[in-house]
Amino acid sequence: MKLINKTSLTIIPLSLPFILISFFAFHQVIYYLNQYHIDQNLLEEKDHFENILNKTKVFDESAFNEDHFSIEPIGDSVNIPTKIETVYVYDSLEDQDEAYRQLTCVVHFNGKPHLLELRDSMIEGNTLIFGIALLMVLQILIFLFVFGVLKRWSNKKIWRPFYVVLDQLERFDITKPEQLHLQETKIDEFEKLNSHIEEMVLKISNDFRLQREMFDMVSHENQTPLAVIRSYIELMFQQTGLNQEHYEILSKINENIGRLSKMNQSILLLTRIESGKFITYEAIQLDERIKSVLDEFQLHIEAKNLDVFLKLDPKVVYMHSDLADAFARNLIQNAVRHNKQDGKLTIILNQDMIQIQNSGDSPQFNLEEMKGKFVKNSADKNSIGLGMNIITVIANQYDIEIKYEYHNNTGTHMITAFFNPTN
């Protein structure tokens, strides 16, 4: 559940008992107030009655316009205290018992004791009370609702720095740590949160950068000993007295030096891209670049007898020139190398995307993993698997989205790169 909803909604279970209790409490209070009022009325009536009875000798009912009363003579010996109580009288019209407040007392008329009962209906009052209580509760509810809405709005504002942190962490890219922008805040806890996160990010990105730099340096340093070894091998080749076996051994060593070296160079390229050394944006005519890179692979295409289909619209992208080359080259190289003999190679370029298709067997590995990892296609012993990694890293730098699919029915691998609309 979202934080804002949680904080807003908790008010409901918290206030519900309060509302119920206050409803009942209020209701009770007014009920008893009303009852007291009625009782006071009854007492006044009783006085009024006694007055009248004292002044006249004849009991004239019409002088009294009370709702209900009864007066009965009773015997002397009965000693009845004055009391007021709630009674229920059946009303045939309404077909239900109705509540009355009844005063019972002894009065004297013509010297003889009489039992006087005065009753006053509670119905109207009760209805009114219920209505008032309900209204009261409604008022509370409205108040709570408005208050709730205002509080929710205010909470959103207060919590803003926190949401900014969440959002920034979601988009965080370790290669672009400077893009972290946390919201300034006067709230102590958020200030602490911000400063801890900034510290952490700084440390992580520094570590990352140092690691990459070391990786870079090591790969770079490796080149020289490799060069030295290769030069010795080549001189060995020129020695006299070598037999076939010697030649073959030297040849294998040479081959492997080549592999090591290529891997080194790919790693160097990768680390350089990730460390942000290629952050420039030049206008590149991508369709032209693709054509010229394709030329470089002409011999390979002929050797595999590939059927090449091109649909290249003129498209300008803003990238570092050499990254554009590396991007195109790795995409095409991937499609050529993993293509079948007599297979098909298709390149489509338009304003929104570039798509490369090649015929091939279904992949043995998870499609999405391939983008991010060092995947070695075991069928090709010279594959070093970094090609896809380079493509992914370059795409990441320029906010290009890469999608990889394999279509079983046509046996086609498809890599689609969607350009960022702002590029």
């Binding site: 770079h220 340093e221 080149q223 020289t224 490799l226 060069a227 030295v228 070894i229 290769r230 030069s231 010795y232 080549e234 001189l235 080749f237 020129q238 076939q244 030649y247 073959e248 030297l250 040849s251 040479n254 081959e255 030096i257 080549g258 070296s261 290529k262 160079q265 160097l268 390229l269 350089r272 050394k277 470089e296 692979f297 011999l299 390979h300 002929e302 050797a303 050499d322 080259r329 190289q333 190398r337 090709d380 012993k381 010279n382 594959s383 070093i384």
Partner: protein, 224 residues
């Protein structure tokens, strides 16, 4: 040909010198920027092989000095750095070519030769290998004064073989020279093989001997 080699890695420098010297070049050697500067001051070189990572400075700083001394000195940068910025900068400053370590000595040799011929007028008479003559200015091949029609890749192949004559050339070295960077996989040589076959066929058809000898499983040698 006069060559200046500026390289601080001793073993490598020694081997380069050895290989190039076998081709009848005179190789001067400096391991520091300062030593290189002295040599540049005292001599005119046909080609300067320049490593960038020198202990006392960046090799790029030498380019200007070399060009000032003699504009037609060819400069070939040899560096472990694949840094494209260096390559661009080097070429902007006046370098003519760039080779990334580790490279094949045979490739270095071929490029050094090509460089010297770019500027040096005296070498215009071309490369001669018995009945085969290569006119580097026109990129033309003659056999017994008759023109042989070679495609650009075939020409490149022949040039490579002849400038590295009598040396064992591995398949991967040949590949890298002809195909450049796109030689990541083993079957690359098959692509070059057909070009090699064509060159040999055309030369033989024009009356030349086939000097290319196969070393099984390894490569070839142009035996004169």
């Amino acid at each position: 040909m006069n060559i200046l080699l500026v390289e601080d890695e001793e073993d490598l420098a020694h081997n380069i010198k050895k290989y190039l010297t076998q081709g009848k070049h005179e190789v001067f050697y400096a391991a520091h920027l300062s030593a290189a500067q002295d040599l540049i001051f005292d001599h005119i070189f046909d080609v300067v092989l320049l490593d960038l990572n020198l202990p006392d400075g960046n090799g790029l700083d030498l380019i200007e000095e070399v060009k000032e001394k003699n504009f037609s000195t060819g400069i070939l940068i040899i560096s472990a750095r694949h840094a494209i910025d260096d390559r661009v900068k080097g070429l902007e400053l006046g370098a003519d070519d760039y080779l990334i370590k580790p490279f094949h000595l045979s490739e270095l040799n071929a490029r050094v030769n090509a460089l010297s011929r770019r500027y040096n007028n005296s070498s215009n008479e071309g490369i001669v290998a018995n009945e085969i003559t290569i006119n580097t200015q026109k990129q033309q091949v003659n056999v017994n004064k008759k023109i042989v029609n070679l495609t650009p890749k075939e020409y490149k192949l022949l040039y490579y073989f002849i400038t590295n004559k009598n040396r064992v050339l591995t398949k991967s070295a040949i590949c890298e020279y002809i195909l450049g960077e796109n030689t990541d996989w083993v079957d690359s040589f098959d692509l070059v093989y057909s070009h090699l076959k064509n060159v040999r066929k055309k030369l033989v058809q024009s009356g030349a001997k086939d000097y290319v000898k196969t070393i099984y499983g390894v490569g070839y040698i142009f035996e004169l």
